[in-house]
Structure formats: structure tokens, C-alpha cells
């Protein structure tokens, strides 16, 4: 039974071994001749001005996250659109033709989904999360 | 047989009193508070007396008064139902009368004793609450109802021990009492649960017919009844202060003296004795291991506490150890089948011990709160009533004819002497001999304890009331007899201590007296036997019985005489000499056999340390330290980088999760082969059957190797597990060691019966003829 997993084990071991091997290789083979210039940041000859970590305004993340949320949710529209005929059909679908009764199920379903999104949009709008002021 | 009667009134009245006093007491003034408190208890006493009258007159001996106050079921679990109700039969009648009337006397006494107390109403509120709970305890018609009362009295005891909570010592003593009692309570609860599971009922009235169920073996080869009895008895040990749970009672003396008298001498602490008598059917089950346990613990407690009492200097501590000791006597009574004797001692003890405590209170009242008896002496002439009533109580507890203690103690000694314990058939001759000697051991221990009792009580008496005063002048100036509300209960209790024994005179003594007198002197026994409890074992032959009585009396008189020679007229030189020459013994007794220290060392400190260690380990070392060292590169690196927000802990939490998951997987897969090598062996001639897996291992799941003769070579290999098991026909007679190895082919894990890691079982072996 567990013999079946032997290839997996081999693959894992190979993965670990491979990376370790090259890291070790770099350590052992690489020439180490440090000088002050090499140890200074960026090796570009000038001292850095301040920390490279700058604090961004939290608004930036906020907008980015909001964009991601609405973007991903709109992506749901594609599979829905592709399945719309089947969702709206009680019975089998042949080609573009519905052989049973046509229902509003698919349409209502998407209305509910969009409705929820609208509520969320209203919320972020009222909370002044959109915009930069 | 049964008749409805509003028994709830008996318990309700004290509860009402408690509610009034606790809610409005501060505004009412002391007069009204005492009126409410005493009135409520008096009302309860009257209703109770009326009920007992009806019980005794109108109903047959097995009859009872009942009162269902939860018509519908109170507790439901599956198909088991308990309707909460009260019941008064002849056993609870004895208890109810003791509780109500003695509580009344002590309430009256307390009105005098506590008159300068600012928290007067709170005190009486608690006292009433206690009385009500105690009545629920004794009137309950099933173990759960009794348990409610049981917890209630425990709570009140805690509240009253810590009544003067401004002093830290008192609050600590209260907490100690509470926690030690909780140990017992959980045993009690477990007993109830087990009984319920086994019988399907916990009503006293319904239990009797089902007791056969308890004879089935349940766990570790003992019958189920034994376990129920042990668990119930653990509860009784806690409440009635028996070894090893007695340590709270001496500390409980931190409470006001009326509390010590009512709760820690006369009523609450006897609840354990009552419960054992109430459920005697469970304790009577043979083999009588449970009875031997109860009586053995009782006897050792009686002797140990009595010896400690000899050297104590605090007035109330002497009485506290005396109470522990006397409770031991009662347990020997109920444990050796002499239920009547045990219950009767409970009654007589209630009189004289309550009296002794109230006398102590009276003395300490006069001494301005001083409790050290080495600073007293010669008080007799200042407080004659207290002195002479105390004299009577001391005679009673020492067991001098015709005082109450004589009859009840004698009955216990005779019962213990004549008791018979039955062991399982498999007992070998040595065991059988020990069992036959057991009653004599009980009797001997108790006789020794009785000697100590007589000695320490009379030492107390002589040191306090005779000789010259050893305290300060100021104290001497203030010495006075207590007010009438305190002396009246003393006198009433003294009368009880003289007379209450006369309703339980042994038949051999009343032999030949007129029948009406015999009816009176045997009243207590006829009241309880045979309707409620079985008859006590009796010594064979009148001569033996007389001899035992004479022996006990001589022992008591010897104790009194020794006390008189050492302490009459003050602490004599001889007493000091004895003390000095027996210094190690004295130190041992003075330090109460170092039991408190032992508990501290063995239980309290390790537990505290364990808690600290576990807390540290769990929260600090593993999280902050240990894992850092396990995976320094990983955890340390991330830790320093993310310390600010996450305190560096989260990675370690994750590691704990992963390690835990691995452990779960490991444990759960290893368990199957572990189960697989556990099983049972049966023999049919030379064929030995081995059923493995205890029904927990499915067929064909495991692969076995079996070595039937212990020669190191496997006789069967690669056999699949079968529910019906394996068998082997031995060619020769002899004893063989069997080694079984189970192997799980899916997980590649195995287990051999030869190496046990967790199992406490012996290696499998079999003897064939």
C-alpha cells in the first residue's frame, strides 16, 4: 500500500537534496574576498538615504484590497454567463435550445449576488473607504 | 404504608427565617432577628415532632410520610427519572428530631453568646440556612435530594467557619474545609452516578429490591456495589471527618462556638454516618470489603484522633479531635453491622458533644475569648452551672453507667466484637484467619480509644474547673456565670446526656424487669429493627456481654483515675514528668502526627509546583524558550523579525500545532495493535482459547504471531485476527507463558504482549493440568 507513495518520497527527497546541494555548492565554491566596498549596501558607492522601508499610507492597501475584492467577485460573472442557459432551464438543454420550461432561477441568483455586492459597495462608500481624502 | 404529609414545612420554615434575616436583618434589630431565627427553628421542631408522632402512632413500622414537591420529574437523563421529594421514615425521624431540637437549643444559646456581634443578623441567617439544608439532607427521599442538602450544609459550614473573615486565618480555615469537603463530595457524586447507571433508581425506597444488580463484577474484579459503597464512603469521609479527610475539622473551630456545637459536632458531621445507615443495603453486600473498609477507617480514626486529643491545649481543639474520634466510633458501629448502635451513638453524642461545646463557649465567654486551657483552672467556683453540666457531659462521653454514652458506646463495642465479615470463597487460610481476627482488632482499637477519651476529657475537666486560676488577674476579675439564655440549653442538654441512653439499654441488662419498663428500655432498637436496618450482631452468651461491659467501664474509670491523679488540682509535677520522659511521643502527638505537614509536602506543594511548572512550560518555556533551541535558525530568525507585533510566539504556536498533529496521528495508529494484544484466556481441559482485541479490533485487520509455550519460537505466524479468537491444545501439563505479537500491515506498526508500556496487566500465562 504505502509502496505506492515511494515515488512521492523520492521526489520530495530529490527536491530537498537538489536545493541543499546548490546552496552548499555556492558556499564552498564561491570565492570569499570581502572588502568594505563589497560589504556596504548596494555596492554603488554612495550611502543609502534613510531606510528602504517607507511607510505607505494605509489608504493604499485599502483601495488595493477593495479593488481585489470587487475584481474577483466580478470574475464570478464569467462562469455564470457560460452556464446561464442551463441555470435557466428546467430540463435538458440541446445546443442553445431549452427543451423544458425556462425559469428565472439563474437571473435571480445573479441578482442576489450583485445585490450583496451593492450593499458592500454602499457600505465602503458611506465609510469613505473609496477615494483619497 | 405511605401517607402524604407536608414535610416541606419542616425545611421551609428555617429557609424563610434565613431569607428574612439575610435580606432585612440589618434593619430589624437584634431582638426581632433572634425571634425570627429561633421561631423558625421552633416551628420546624414542632412540625417535625408532630410528623414523627404520626409516623410512630398511625403507621406500621415500615411506613413513611412522603411529600413530593416536584410532582414532575426533577432530573431526567435518558429513561431515568427522579422526582424530587421528601420522606420521613423511622431512621430520618431520629435525625430530624435531633437536628431540629438541638438546633433550637443552640439558636437560643447563640442569642446570648453572640449578643455583641455587629453582624448578628447575618449569623442567624446562615444558621437558619444551615438548619434548613440539614433538614433537606436527612429528609431527602433519594440520593440527589440528599446531595443538595449535603452541598448546602457544606456551603453554610464554609460561610460560618469564615464568619469572622476579617482575620485571614478564619477565611483560610473555611476554604480548607470547603476544598477538603469537595474531594469527598465528588466521590459522593460519582457514587450516585454509578448507582444510577447500575440500578436505574436512586430513591431509597426503590433501591432495596434491586440490590442484586450490584453483585455483578464491575471493575477490577470487584462487584459494582463495592465501588458504589467506596465512592459514597469517600463522600462520608469528607463530611464526617474521617482519615484521610479529617484535617479540616480541627481548623473549623475558627468559627463561632455555637457553630462548632451545631455543625461540627452535633449535626452536619454526622451526615456521613446517616448516609451509610440510609444506604446500608449497599454496604451489606458480600464480600464485606466495604464494611471492613468503613469500620477499619472508623477504628483507626477513633484511636488516632483520641491520642492527638490527649496533648492539645486549646479547649475547642480538644473537643474537635474528640468529635473526630467519636465519629470514628459511629463508623465502626455502622461498618460492622451494628447500625442501631451507630445511630444511637450519633444521638447521644449529639447531646453531650453539643453540650461540651456550649460549655466551652460559656467558659471562653467568661475568659474573654481565651481558649488555652493551661491558662484556666479553678473556674468551677465561679460558674457552677457550667461546671456541673460539664461534669455530666464528661461522665457521658467517658461512658460511665448510667449516662447516655455508656449504652451507646457499649453497643458499638459489643457490635464490633461480635461482627462477622465474609470474604470471597477464594480467600486462603491466612486471609481467612485475618478476617476472623478483624472484629477483635476493631474492638481492641476502640477500647484503647475509649481509654484515651476518658483520659483527655477528664484532663480537660480537671484543668479547667479545678485547682487554682492560672490566667491574668484581669481575667480572674471578670469571671462570671453566663446569662440564662446560655445556661438553660446547657441544663437541657445535660438532662439529655443523662437520660437519652435509657431508651437503648441492652437486653441483657433489662432482663427480668417489668414488660412496660422493657418496652421503654428497648425502645430505640424496636424503633429501627427490623423495619429499617438489620439487627446488630450480638456477643454469644450473657457472661461475655457482661464481661465486655465491665471491661469497658473499668477502662473508662482507669482513664478518669489517671487524669485525676495527674491533673486534679492543677497540672501536677507528675504530669510534667510524664510529658518530659515521653518527649518524642509528645512531639508526635502535639504535631498531630505531622499529617498537615505531610499533606502540604505530598499534595499541596507538588500540585502548586506542577501548576507553576506546567504553566511556565506551556506558556513560557516551550513557547518562549524550548522551541527556540529546537529550531533556532527557523524560529529565532522569524522571532526577532516579528517580535513587535506577535511577541515572537506565533511560529511556536504553529510548531506546537504541527507536533500535536503528528502526535495525534502517531497515538491513534499505534493504538490498534496495542489493543490487539490485550484479551482474555479461557480453558477447556487442555484446550486454551485466547480472545484478543477486546472486541475493539475488526476481523482480519491485524496479523498475529503467537508463541504458545514461551520458548521464544513462534508456533503460529501470519495468522489474521479473528473475533472468535485462537486456540491451542497443549500436549503436556504445566505452566506456559504465551507471547502474542500483533502487527498492523497498513501502518507497519506492531506490539508484543511481552513488552508492556502502558498496560498494568501481567504477561499472559496459563496453567494446564
Amino acid at each position: 500500500m504505502s509502496v505506492d507513495y515511494a515515488p512521492t518520497l523520492v521526489a520530495i527527497l530529490f527536491g530537498i537534496g537538489f536545493s541543499c546541494f546548490f546552496m552548499a555548492l555556492a558556499v564552498f565554491l564561491g570565492p570569499k574576498r570581502p572588502d568594505p566596498e563589497k560589504l556596504s549596501p548596494f555596492e554603488c558607492g554612495s550611502d543609502p538615504i534613510g531606510s528602504p522601508r517607507v511607510r505607505f499610507s494605509v489608504k493604499f492597501y485599502q483601495v488595493a484590497i477593495l479593488f481585489l475584492i470587487f475584481d474577483i467577485e466580478s470574475a464570478f460573472l464569467y462562469p455564470w454567463a457560460a452556464l446561464y442557459r442551463r441555470l435557466s432551464c428546467l430540463g435538458t438543454v440541446s445546443g442553445t435550445q431549452c427543451l423544458g420550461t425556462v425559469t428565472a432561477f439563474g437571473f435571480v441568483e445573479m441578482l442576489v449576488f450583485i445585490g450583496t455586492l451593492v450593499v458592500a459597495l454602499a457600505y465602503v462608500w458611506r465609510k469613505r473607504a473609496i477615494g483619497w481624502g | 404504608m405511605t401517607q402524604n404529609y407536608p414535610l416541606y414545612l419542616i425545611a421551609l420554615l428555617p429557609f424563610l427565617g434565613a431569607a428574612l434575616n439575610l435580606l432585612f436583618g440589618r434593619r430589624l434589630g437584634n431582638g426581632i432577628v433572634s425571634l425570627i431565627a429561633c421561631g423558625a427553628v421552633a416551628g420546624a421542631a414542632l412540625v417535625a415532632t408532630k410528623a414523627v408522632w404520626i409516623l410512630g402512632h398511625d403507621l406500621p413500622t415500615k411506613g413513611m410520610l412522603v411529600d413530593q414537591f416536584f410532582e414532575k420529574d426533577w432530573i431526567t437523563a435518558g429513561d431515568l427519572h427522579v422526582a424530587a421529594g421528601l420522606m420521613l421514615d423511622r431512621l430520618s425521624a431520629v435525625m430530624v428530631l435531633i437536628v431540629t431540637w438541638i438546633a433550637l437549643l443552640i439558636h437560643i444559646y447563640a442569642t446570648g453568646y453572640m449578643e455583641h456581634e455587629p453582624d448578628y443578623a447575618r449569623f442567624f441567617g446562615y444558621l437558619n440556612l444551615f438548619t434548613g439544608s440539614m433538614l433537606i439532607l436527612v429528609l431527602g427521599d433519594s440520593l440527589p435530594v440528599t446531595f443538595v442538602g449535603w452541598e448546602g450544609v457544606g456551603l453554610c459550614s464554609y460561610l460560618l467557619i469564615g464568619f469572622w473573615y476579617q482575620e485571614d486565618k478564619n477565611a483560610t480555615a473555611g476554604r480548607k474545609a470547603f476544598i477538603v469537603n469537595r474531594v469527598g463530595d465528588f466521590g459522593f457524586l460519582l457514587g450516585i452516578c454509578l448507582l444510577w447507571t447500575l440500578l436505574g433508581t436512586v430513591k431509597y425506597a426503590e433501591m432495596g429490591s434491586l440490590l442484586n444488580e450490584l453483585r455483578r463484577p464491575f471493575w477490577m474484579g470487584w462487584p459494582a456495589g463495592y465501588w458504589v459503597a467506596v465512592f459514597l464512603f469517600i463522600g462520608c469521609m469528607g463530611k464526617s471527618a474521617q482519615i484521610p479527610l479529617y484535617v479540616w475539622l480541627p481548623d473549623a473551630m475558627a468559627g463561632p462556638t455555637p457553630v462548632s456545637a451545631l455543625i461540627h459536632a452535633a449535626t452536619m458531621v454526622t451526615a456521613g454516618v446517616y448516609v451509610v445507615a440510609r444506604t446500608h443495603g449497599i454496604f451489606d453486600i458480600t464480600p464485606s470489603a466495604a464494611q471492613m473498609l468503613v469500620s477499619g477507617i472508623g477504628a483507626i480514626t477513633a484511636l488516632m484522633a483520641a491520642t492527638i486529643g490527649i496533648v492539645q491545649r486549646d479547649f475547642k481543639k480538644v473537643l474537635a479531635y474528640s468529635t473526630v474520634s467519636q465519629l470514628g466510633f459511629m463508623f465502626v458501629g455502622v461498618g460492622s453491622g451494628a447500625y442501631v448502635a451507630g445511630i444511637m451513638h450519633l444521638m447521644t453524642h449529639a447531646f453531650f458533644k453539643a453540650g461540651l461545646f456550649l460549655g466551652a463557649g460559656s467558659v471562653m465567654h467568661a475568659m474573654g475569648g481565651e481558649g488555652d486551657i493551661t491558662k484556666m483552672g479553678g473556674l468551677g467556683k465561679h460558674m457552677p452551672i457550667t461546671r456541673w453540666t460539664f461534669f455530666v457531659y464528661c461522665l457521658a462521653i467517658a461512658g460511665i453507667f448510667p449516662f447516655a454514652g455508656f449504652f451507646s458506646k457499649d453497643a458499638i463495642l459489643a457490635g464490633a466484637f461480635a461482627s462477622k465479615f465474609v470474604m470471597a470463597d477464594t480467600a486462603n487460610p491466612t486471609q481467612q484467619m485475618l478476617i476472623n481476627l478483624y472484629p477483635k482488632f476493631l474492638w481492641g482499637t476502640l477500647t484503647l480509644a475509649a481509654f484515651c477519651t476518658a483520659f483527655y476529657m477528664w484532663r480537660l475537666y480537671f484543668m479547667v474547673f479545678t485547682g487554682t486560676f492560672r490566667g491574668t488577674h484581669e481575667q480572674e476579675h471578670h469571671l462570671h456565670e453566663s446569662p440564662p439564655e446560655m445556661t438553660l440549653p446547657l441544663v437541657v442538654l445535660a438532662v439529655g446526656a443523662v437520660l437519652s441512653g435509657l431508651i437503648g439499654v441492652p437486653a441483657v441488662m433489662s432482663h427480668g424487669l417489668p414488660e412496660s419498663v422493657q418496652h421503654f428500655t428497648g425502645f430505640f432498637e424496636h424503633w429501627l429493627v427490623p423495619a429499617i436496618v438489620p439487627a446488630s450482631p450480638e456477643p454469644h452468651g450473657h457472661a461475655l456481654e457482661w464481661g465486655l461491659m465491665a471491661g469497658a467501664t473499668i477502662i473508662s474509670i482507669a482513664g478518669i483515675g489517671l487524669a485525676a491523679s495527674l491533673y486534679r488540682g492543677g497540672i501536677s509535677k507528675a504530669a510534667e514528668n510524664v510529658k518530659n520522659s515521653l518527649q518524642p511521643v509528645y512531639a508526635l502527638l502535639w504535631n498531630k502526627y505531622f499529617v498537615d505537614e505531610l499533606y502540604d509536602l505530598v499534595l499541596v506543594r507538588p500540585l502548586k509546583m506542577l501548576a507553576r511548572v506546567l504553566w511556565r512550560v506551556a506558556d513560557a518555556v516551550i513557547v518562549d524558550g524550548g522551541l527556540t533551541k529546537v529550531g533556532p535558525a527557523l524560529v529565532g530568525w522569524f522571532g526577532t523579525r516579528t517580535r513587535r507585533l506577535q511577541n515572537g510566539d506565533v511560529q511556536r504556536y504553529l510548531i506546537a500545532v504541527v507536533l500535536g498533529a503528528a502526535a495525534v496521528l502517531f497515538l491513534s495508529t499505534f493504538w490498534l495493535p496495542y489493543r490487539g494484544v490485550q484479551g482474555s484466556i479461557t480453558k477447556e481441559g487442555r484446550r486454551v482459547n485466547l480472545v484478543l482485541g477486546e472486541g475493539k479490533v475488526p476481523n482480519n485487520r491485524l496479523v498475529y504471531r503467537i508463541d504458545w509455550d514461551g520458548d521464544g519460537k513462534f508456533d503460529e505466524e501470519n495468522v489474521r485476527h479473528a473475533e472468535k479468537g485462537f486456540f491451542h491444545d497443549y500436549q503436556n501439563a504445566g505452566t506456559f507463558r504465551i507471547v502474542v505479537e500483533a502487527h498492523d500491515p497498513d501502518w507497519h506498526v506492531g506490539k508484543s504482549s511481552a513488552d508492556w508500556i502502558l498496560g498494568a496487566r501481567k504477561p499472559l500465562s496459563v496453567t494446564v493440568e
Binding site: L87, C89, V119, R126 | G78, Y165, L607, L665, W671
Partner: protein, 520 residues
């Protein structure tokens, strides 16, 4: 594509909770924008050393009564739905993704009652600490919706969905006290470990699906006897098991719990200790006691999880209680005590597998008793420990003499602590009583019960310490201003109801016990 309209009715609690959450979100968004209190104050009051600004009823004060009314309505629906179940089996919905049965409804009811009491005790606390945010109510609703999905789940996918929806709301709630570093820490820790464990859960589900080929629990149950011995299947279940043990804070997956329960705003801690735990136990019940552990099923013999649970129950009870012994902060003590209670509940779960269906009632009763008690206790903690300068005053020294300073609160706390310690006549007593009694039906569980009882004994010590401090100790003389209990009608009423429920269940446990026993 077909759709059964009856599903809408049968899943009404779930739908209503979601809609109610959305409505509350909108109400919050369209309320007057001025926020009262100090959420946007730049400096922490403790640093300014000024007295904390006196709380004024905010413009969102009406949200609490609205939420309570909505929840009561949903509770009524939950109470009505059992009448729609015919026969012994549940009604399957949404193509067998969810199931409507009495068990699920009862646990939903427990969660909702806990949430109602929590919501009643919350606003005074939130206002006093300057975090009166309308989102609180919406998030509680969404989290409840997740719990309902979890307890009604009939498919591994819905299980995952429920766990995530429930957790997401709670992550945010735990961190809503933005002025408090410890609240941020609590939320962050809970979120990080929670996310990791979600990964384990999903991985476990994937493995189970990979080996059995279905995610439907009923299907898995019927196929399990064949698959149970396969490592893939088994590892999958163990990962799922571990992730649920994390949610109920069982040792050794408990480490987040003390920090999180201690750091989160007190009403939120109460919600996490009760609702999340109840729903997660319902999940454990559905997944393990029913799907894997049916004692009628020969499968039970394969399920090593019982043995693992046995050890974990012992560890959880013991470690939780011992660690609680040493806590000086009452809130942290309750956090550890909540861990210990997870251990007692595990006894019920084990009993389900070993004893059988008769253990279901005790398990549910314990959950209900525990929920009411803890919500009440956390309400009192929030109530009495408010410090005039910001923070909370939670040490035993701070609570010394509370019996005189605030008799009503102290009395309520005493009742809750006695219930947690298992004293009659409180709900907690019967919880333990039923649980231990049913476990005693099998001698093999006797050691577990004995350890449980020994642990109850240990726990008495630290519960009693609080009571002793409140009644038997004079307040420590200190120059600092004493804590100033909140004054709020809703809070007092909420605590009062909780206390009455605790005592009521202690005096008349049978109606709930019957309900629990019948919740198949």
C-alpha cells in the same frame, strides 16, 4: 438545473442571519457619521492621564435593540423549524450540502442565545472603551451565519465554508479594540494560526476526497469501513480532527487561546469562548461521532481518533486547570478555564463514540449550560472591571471587596463561577452530572471520569479564589482610583437573564435535558 423552494424555508435561519447582517451593515453605514466616544482620538487616554471621556449614547445606540430583536425573531424561526422535520432523519437541502435536523437547530439555538446575551452586554462596554462601532453587530451576525452553516453541514465543503465564515468575523472582532495593543496581538495571533489551521483542514478534506472520491458525509460514512484502514483517508481525517481541536482550543492546539481570549474585547471573548466552541463541537460531532464513530457501525473499531481524543481530553482538562490556578487576571483565568471545559466536552464526544447516542443529550446540555454561564461571566467581567483611565482592572486585588462595592454584579459572578465549578443548584452542575453519568456506562471511561472529577476539584480552588476575594477581602488600599462599574440597563438585564437561566437550569434541568436528548 432545479431548485427546491422548500430549501429556502428550511435554511431560513441561515438566510435570515445573512440578510440581517447586511441590513445592520447598511444601518450602520447610513447612520449619522459622527462617532461618539474616542475611536478616532489620536492619543490613548492612559497616556494623557486625563479621566476617560464620559460615554454619551452614540448615534448608533439603536443598533443593539435592533440586533436583539432580529436575533429573537431568528430564534423564533429556529424554534419553529423542528415542526417541519418529519421522521427521524433530517431534511437535506441544496443538493445534500446542508441538512436540517433537530441537532443542528438546537446548537444554532444555543449559539444564538449566547449571541443575544453577548450583544446585550456588549454596547456599554464598547461605548465605555471608545469602540462603539456598528460593524460589531453585523460581524456577529455573519459569524453566526457561519456557525449555522457549520452545524447544518452535510458535506465537507460546507463544513469548510462554515468554519471560514465563522472565523473571519471573529478575527475582525478580536482586533476591533484598536487602541489596545493586546487586542491587535490577539487578533493577529488568532488569524495567523487560524489561517494555518484552515490550510490543514483543507488539506485534510482534499486527502479524504482523494481517497474516497466524495465529500458528502453520508457517502463517506457508508464507504468508510472499506477505506478506514487506508493511510491517506486516515491522515486526512486526522488533519480535519486537529483543525477542529484548534477551534475548540484543546491542548496542544490551545496556545493561541489564552492570548486571544485575554486580549480581545471582553464581550467578543465571551462570544468566541461560547459560540465558536459550540459550533466547533457540533462540527466534531457531525464529522467524528456520526460519520466516523457510529457505535452501530463496525467502523468504530477502526477509529483511532477516539484514543487520540482520550489522551487529548485528559491533557486539555489537566493543563487548562493547572494553568488557571496561577492566573492573577480574572479574564485570563477564565480563558484557561475555557480550555479546561473543552476537555470536559471532549469526554462527551468520546462517550458518543463509545457509549452511543445516549451521550448526545449530555453533550448538548453541557454546551448549553457552559454557553449561558460563560457569556454571563464575561458580561460581568466587562461590567465590573472598567477602569476610569482606559483599560480594565482584572486582578484579584482589584476585585477585592467587590461584594460590598457592587453586590449585584458580585452575586451574579458568584453564580456563574459556581456553575463553572459544577455546584448544585446551577446549570453547570447538571452539565457535569449528566456528562459523567453517561460516561460511566462504560467502565473503560471510568479513568477519564475520575480524571475529570479530579480536575473539577482543582478548578474549585481558583473559582473560589475569586469569590473569596470578592466577599472575604477588604479592597486593597491604593491611591489609584477604583474601577468604576459600567451602568447600563441592557447589560444588567443581560447578566440577569444569564444568571436566571443558570439557576433555572440548575433547578429544573429536565426540559432542556429532554430537548437535548431528543435532538437527533
Amino acid at each position: 438545473m432545479t431548485f427546491d423552494v422548500a430549501d429556502l424555508q428550511n435554511s431560513a435561519p441561515l438566510l435570515l442571519l445573512t440578510v440581517a447582517g447586511l441590513v445592520l451593515m447598511l444601518l450602520d453605514a447610513f447612520s449619522r457619521s459622527k462617532l461618539v466616544g474616542a475611536p478616532y482620538q489620536k492619543k490613548m487616554p492612559a497616556e494623557t492621564s486625563e479621566a476617560y471621556p464620559l460615554p454619551v449614547a452614540g448615534s448608533r445606540g439603536y443598533l443593539m435593540p435592533v440586533t436583539v430583536l432580529l436575533l429573537l425573531g431568528i430564534l423564533a424561526v429556529v424554534a419553529w423549524l423542528p415542526g417541519q422535520i418529519h421522521g427521524d432523519h433530517g431534511v437535506f437541502m441544496y443538493r445534500d450540502m446542508l441538512v436540517l435536523d433537530r441537532f443542528g437547530l438546537l446548537v444554532s439555538g444555543i449559539c444564538i442565545v449566547g449571541a443575544i446575551l453577548g450583544v446585550m452586554t456588549a454596547p456599554a462596554f464598547l461605548r465605555a472603551h471608545g469602540l462603539e462601532m456598528g460593524e460589531y453587530y453585523a460581524l456577529v451576525m455573519f459569524s453566526l451565519a457561519g456557525m449555522v452553516i457549520l452545524v447544518m453541514a452535510a458535506d465537507l465543503v460546507t463544513v469548510f465554508l462554515g468554519v471560514e465564515i465563522m472565523s473571519l468575523g471573529v478575527y475582525v472582532l478580536a482586533g476591533m479594540w484598536r487602541k489596545s495593543q493586546r487586542s491587535a496581538e490577539a487578533a493577529m495571533k488568532y488569524f495567523l494560526v487560524g489561517a494555518f489551521v484552515s490550510g490543514l483542514l483543507l488539506y485534510g478534506i482534499a486527502l479524504v476526497y482523494g481517497s474516497v472520491g466524495t465529500t458528502l458525509l453520508s457517502e463517506i460514512r457508508s464507504r468508510a469501513p472499506v477505506f478506514a484502514s487506508r493511510p491517506l483517508f486516515y491522515i486526512g481525517w486526522m488533519l480535519i480532527f486537529v483543525s477542529f481541536l484548534f477551534k475548540v482550543a484543546a491542548v496542544p492546539f490551545h496556545m493561541w487561546a489564552p492570548d486571544t481570549y485575554d486580549g480581545a474585547p471582553t464581550p467578543v471573548s465571551g462570544f468566541m469562548m461560547t459560540g465558536v466552541k459550540a459550533a466547533a463541537f457540533a462540527g466534531l460531532y457531525r464529522l467524528f461521532a456520526v460519520t466516523l464513530g457510529d457505535s452501530q457501525n463496525a467502523l468504530q473499531a477502526y477509529t483511532g481518533w477516539v484514543h487520540a481524543a482520550y489522551g487529548i481530553a485528559i491533557l486539555t482538562m489537566t493543563l487548562g486547570n493547572l494553568a488557571a490556578l496561577h492566573q492573577e487576571s480574572i479574564k485570563r483565568m477564565l480563558a484557561y478555564s475555557s480550555i479546561a471545559h473543552a476537555g470536559y466536552l471532549l469526554i462527551g464526544l468520546i462517550a458518543m463514540a463509545v457509549v452511543g447516542d445516549s451521550a448526545r443529550g449530555p453533550l448538548l446540555f453541557y454546551l448549553a449550560a457552559y454557553t449561558v454561564t460563560v457569556v454571563g461571566a464575561m458580561g460581568v467581567v466587562g461590567w465590573l472591571s472598567r477602569d476610569l483611565r482606559g483599560g480594565e482592572r482584572l486582578t484579584l486585588d482589584d476585585w477585592a471587596g467587590m461584594g460590598q462595592r457592587h453586590p449585584a454584579g458580585a452575586l451574579a459572578m458568584t453564580i456563574f463561577l459556581l456553575s463553572l465549578g459544577g455546584f448544585p443548584p446551577t446549570a453547570g452542575f447538571f452539565g457535569k452530572f449528566y456528562l459523567f453519568r453517561v460516561a460511566l456506562e462504560k467502565p473503560s471511561l471510568l479513568p477519564l471520569v475520575l480524571i475529570g472529577i479530579a480536575n473539577s476539584l482543582i478548578s474549585v480552588y481558583y473559582y473560589l479564589r475569586v469569590i473569596t476575594a470578592m466577599y472575604f477581602r477588604a479592597p486593597a488600599p491604593s491611591s489609584e482610583p477604583a474601577s468604576e462599574p459600567l451602568s447600563s440597563t441592557a447589560l444588567s438585564v443581560g447578566v440577569l437573564i444569564a444568571a436566571l437561566l443558570v439557576l433555572g437550569l440548575g433547578l429544573m434541568p429536565e426540559w432542556l435535558a429532554n430537548l437535548c436528548a431528543a435532538a437527533n
